[in-house]
């Protein structure tokens, strides 16, 4: 399975920021995190992505020391930290609800960590002020958290964590509570802040777009299991299974059976050219991105795409300015097709008989492991 290929590579390299080996976390009968293997490099922007309840927060909390693994090993820069309390770890967290201390002003909130580590009052205050300016909150030092907007509270939480110079910064859906515009602004800011500081960020989100735009690498989780780790391109172009294919971006998932190493058979018997590593007879799904598909008149299929084409009827078309999104009914299911809209491009009305085709390198066969989505 794909995840084991990934896991196999994890031979604890000493300079990894975080090394998670065979970690499982159970709460009573609930398996929140299920045998996860993961390595996060120093200085990388790493996202953990998955739907709600898949175990992202639990994984993050184990790195922070707020939860201890039931099984497995967890190392930070080579040191085993399994059951070390949070205050003994070189990591800091930006909590989902920010968790700012309501009885302290912004300055005291940010200076808290330094004071706890024994910095003098004035040292702590000056480092805190500096960090407050860095997150663009200069002048707000004396305010209480309740007197700040959501975005400002977010920045305080960030400053409060970063001022301690953690070796790894953990962020649990830090932008979840912000509105869209502010969210996009903060995405850019977080990313440049991370580059500037060179610290590893481990960023938890259930928003695939956010993960794709911000991260160097992404780990996709589902029901406590780590499904795949890779760059945005890897996940998008070469998902290891149905779930990842469906969760990252938009795709058409077409059920099929493997005929041989080059061919699969679709539900209506059509043979399609699709190189794959599976045994003949294996149930698979073919992932076909809407933007990889071309559309044209029924008898218009270019010669080289004959083996990767289907006939269908347009049932709906939506104009998005830069593109047309067609719903094309093939024999047994609707497919989404997205074409660039140019002044010269031909538009097919609902009811038109059309052919669709694609490059054989752009379909992707994934095992049908029953990860329905």
């Amino acid at each position: 399975m794909g995840e084991e290929n990934e896991a196999g590579d994890v031979a604890s390299s000493a300079d990894a920021a975080v090394t998670i080996t065979g970690v499982t976390k159970r709460f009573g009968d609930v398996v929140a995190v299920d045998n996860v293997n993961l390595e996060i490099a120093d200085g990388e922007f790493f996202a953990m992505l998955g739907p709600s309840g898949c175990g992202k927060t639990t994984t993050l909390r184990m790195i922070a020391g707020l939860e201890f693994p039931t099984e497995g090993s967890l190392k930070i820069f080579g040191d085993e930290v399994g059951t070390l309390p949070p205050n003994k770890r070189p990591v800091n967290t930006v909590f989902q609800n920010y968790a700012l201390f309501p009885h302290m002003n912004v300055l005291d909130n940010v200076a808290f960590g330094l004071k706890m580590q024994g910095a003098s009052k004035s040292e702590a205050a000056s480092a805190a002020s500096e960090m407050i300016s860095l997150v663009q909150l200069g002048g707000m030092e004396k305010r209480k958290p309740s007197q700040l907007s959501g975005g400002q509270q977010q920045r305080v939480a960030l400053a409060r964590a970063l001022v301690n110079k953690p070796k790894v910064l953990l962020l649990d859906e830090p932008l979840g509570a912000l509105d869209l515009k502010l969210r996009q602004e903060m995405q850019t800011e977080l990313k440049s802040l991370q580059r500037e500081l060179g610290v590893s960020f481990v960023f938890v989100t259930h928003d695939q777009e956010e993960a794709l735009t911000m991260s160097d690498r992404i780990a996709v989780m589902h029901e406590g299991k780590l499904l795949q780790v890779g760059s945005a391109e890897e996940l998008y172009d070469r998902p290891v299974n149905r779930f990842v294919a469906d969760f990252i971006g938009q795709t058409n998932l077409i059920d099929a059976t493997v005929a041989d190493a080059d061919m699969i058979v679709l539900a209506n018997g059509t043979k399609i050219m699709a190189p794959n590593p599976h045994l003949a007879g294996t149930k698979v799904a073919m992932s076909l991105r809407p933007e990889s598909i071309s559309i044209g008149a029924s008898d218009d299929i270019p010669e080289e795409f004959q083996a990767t084409s289907l006939q269908g009827e347009v049932s709906n078309v939506v104009y998005l300015g830069h593109s047309h999104v067609y719903t094309v009914e093939v024999d047994w299911m609707p497919l989404e097709v997205r074409t660039n809209a140019t002044p010269t491009s031909q538009v097919y009305k609902p009811g038109s008989q059309v052919a669709i085709w694609w490059d054989r390198r752009s379909d992707w066969v994934v095992p049908d492991e029953g990860f329905s989505s």
Partner: protein, 292 residues
């Protein structure tokens, strides 16, 4: 068709009517409180400036501060000091007992919590006087406590009719008033703040000092005042468990009114006591009132 616009006059009338309606609704309570609460209080204050006649009556003339001057005499200051000391000791003991208990309570499951809260309140279901007599039996010379200490070779327990017994009784009587607001404050606390504190490098003890305790402070203040005030003016417990020997303020006031027949002095002590409590209440509303 005419259009009715909300003119400023109309709105002012509406506003006035709304206010008047509110006033009428509150009127019964106003009258009751004025007649049976404010007026008696006023009488007490007025009497504190009156003169005791030789026959033990009270002359409502020749207003003077004589009764207040008497409060400076050693007998009264002794009692005042004793009352303050016992009330403070009671409050501190309640605080020390209630904090860990409230913390424990607030961290239990919902069901456990509710069952334990019922246990905290069970004493209220029987009469305060009766419960004090029960303590008298418990602490008495051949009561269970004494028998126990004798049994294990510590000798007789003779704390009945001592200040210790009074404090025991007061703590017993008022502990729930400390627990409830404290529990409410701790229970309402955002526990992720404690995690944030640990995450930022604070030890468990530092977290308690810098985060947990400050956040529960409103409950601590509310509870302290709710225990301190009734302890200071307690009458039943000092009378029954203290045997009226070492009197507290409550007993002294009763004596002034009933035995010594010196109403002005009784009234003056009451007035001072009320003033102290008023101050405490003000602090409570400013610092801790929000938790209840």
């Amino acid at each position: 068709m005419t259009t009715v616009l909300a003119t400023p006059e109309l709105e002012a009338t509406n506003e006035r009517q709304k206010r008047r309606r509110g006033f009428f609704l509150a009127l019964p309570a106003y009258i009751y409180l004025s007649l049976f609460f404010a007026l008696p209080l006023l009488i007490v204050v007025v009497y504190s400036f009156a003169t005791r006649t030789r026959s033990g009556g009270t002359a409502l003339e020749e207003w003077n501060l004589e009764s207040y001057r008497k409060l400076g005499e050693p007998i009264v200051t002794d009692i005042l000091l004793r009352s303050l000391t016992l009330a403070i000791i009671t409050t501190v003991i309640c605080l020390v007992l209630a904090y860990p208990f409230s913390y424990f309570l607030a961290t239990r499951r919902e069901l456990t919590r509710n069952i334990m809260l019922v246990f905290v309140m069970i004493p209220f279901w029987s009469n305060f006087l009766v419960r004090n007599y029960a303590w008298r039996v418990l602490l008495g010379n051949d009561g269970p406590v004494s028998q126990l200490t004798e049994g294990i070779g510590l000798g007789e327990t003779t704390i009945l009719f001592t200040p210790t017994a009074i404090v025991l009784g007061l703590v017993y009587g008022f502990l729930p008033f400390m627990i409830l607001p404290m529990y409410a404050a701790i229970e309402r606390m955002d526990w992720s703040l404690l995690e944030a504190s640990r995450d930022l490098g604070a030890s468990g003890f530092q977290t308690f000092r810098k985060v947990t305790f400050p956040l529960s402070l409103p409950g601590v203040i509310a509870g302290s005042i709710l225990v301190f005030i009734p302890s200071l003016g307690a009458y039943v417990t000092p009378q029954i468990l203290g045997g009226g020997k070492k009197t507290m303020l409550g007993s002294y006031i009763v004596t002034q009114f009933l035995t010594a027949r010196n109403w002005p002095v009784g009234a003056a002590v009451s007035t001072v006591l009320m003033f102290v409590m008023l101050m405490a209440t003000l602090i409570y509303f400013r610092k801790g009132g929000r938790t209840l």
